[in-house]
Symmetry: C2
Subunit: 129 residues, 2 copies
DNA sequence: CCTTGACCTTCCAGTGACTGGAAGCCCAAT
DNA sequence: ATTGGGCTTCCAGTCACTGGAAGGTCAAGG
C-alpha cells in the first residue's frame, strides 16, 4: 500500500513516516517500480507501535530502544520495564514542576483585580520576586 | 557593567541575553567604546523580570507582552490577568495529559514482571492497543 | 612592554520532533 | 488529453536556546 494509506491506518502523518525513515527509527520501506514507498501490514503494525509509544510521551530514542526489544525474542522484560520506569520518573518530575508553577500562578491571579486599573501583583511579583 | 556581570545578577546566561536581544525581546544594550555591551541596574531588573516569567513557563512571546504591560503605566491589570489565565489553562491541560500518561504507564508496569523473561505486557500493549 | 588568561564580540550550526512548502513525477478517471 | 490527487525529494521554519570557532579587549603580573 501507498504511504497515504499506511499513514491513515497507523494514525501517523505521511510526512512523519518519511521523517522516521530518514532518522532511521524505522527501516526504509520497499519501493514500487515507479519509486513509491510500499508498505505491508507488518509495516503498519510497526508504525502503530511507534505511534502509541510516542503518544505515551516516550522520546524517539526510547521508541527506538523499545522497537529493538520488541523485535528481540530473547529480550528481558526487565529492560523494557527499566525504560518505562525512567520515563515515568521524568513524567512525574514534570507534573510536579507544572503543579508548582500552577500554584504560584493561581495565587498571583487571586491577588490581581483583573480590571481596568493598572495595579497588578502579577507584574510586581515578576519584577521583585 | 559587562554582560557576564549582568548575567550573574539576573540569573540568565550571557548567551541567552544576547539571544533575547537578537529576537527583540529586550532592547539592545548600550555599548562601551570598545564594543562591549553595557548594562545598567535597570537593565538587570528587566532581565530578572524575564527570567522569572520564563521560569513560570510563559512563552517568550507572552514575556514580551508582559514586558510591554509592565512598562505601560496605563495598563489594565485585566490584560495581565488574561495572559496569566491563558497560561494556567495550558499548564492545567498539560498536567492532565501527563497524569493520564502516568496512569497508563504505571498500570502497564504493574503487569510486567521486569525480570529476565521475555514476556512483557508493556510491549504487547504498545503493539495491540 | 609583554604576556597571560579571562572576558567580550559575531556568526554558524545543532538540538527534538516534526511541519510547511516548492518543484516535479505518477496514476486513475474522464 | 487533461485533470486532480498522490507521490517524490529537498530546503526551511518552528521554539528557546546552546555549543563552538575565530578573533578583539582588558587588567594584572613579571
Amino acid at each position: 500500500m501507498n504511504i497515504g494509506e499506511a499513514a491513515r491506518r497507523a494514525g501517523v502523518p505521511a510526512k512523519t513516516i518519511r521523517y522516521y525513515e530518514g532518522i532511521g527509527l524505522i527501516p526504509a520501506a520497499g519501493r514500487t517500480a515507479s519509486g513509491y514507498r510500499d508498505y505491508s501490514d507488518r509495516d503498519v503494525e510497526t508504525l502503530r507501535f511507534v505511534q502509541h509509544a510516542r503518544s505515551l510521551g516516550f522520546s524517539v530514542k526510547d521508541v527506538g530502544d523499545l522497537l529493538q526489544l520488541w523485535h528481540d525474542r530473547d529480550r528481558a522484560s526487565g529492560d523494557v520495564k527499566r525504560i518505562a520506569a525512567g520515563h515515568v520518573a521524568a513524567v512525574e518530575r514534570k507534573i510536579e514542576e507544572l503543579q508548582a508553577i500552577r500554584a504560584t500562578l493561581v495565587s498571583l491571579m487571586h491577588r490581581c483585580h483583573g480590571d481596568d486599573r493598572p495595579d497588578c501583583p502579577i507584574l510586581e511579583e515578576l519584577a521583585n520576586p
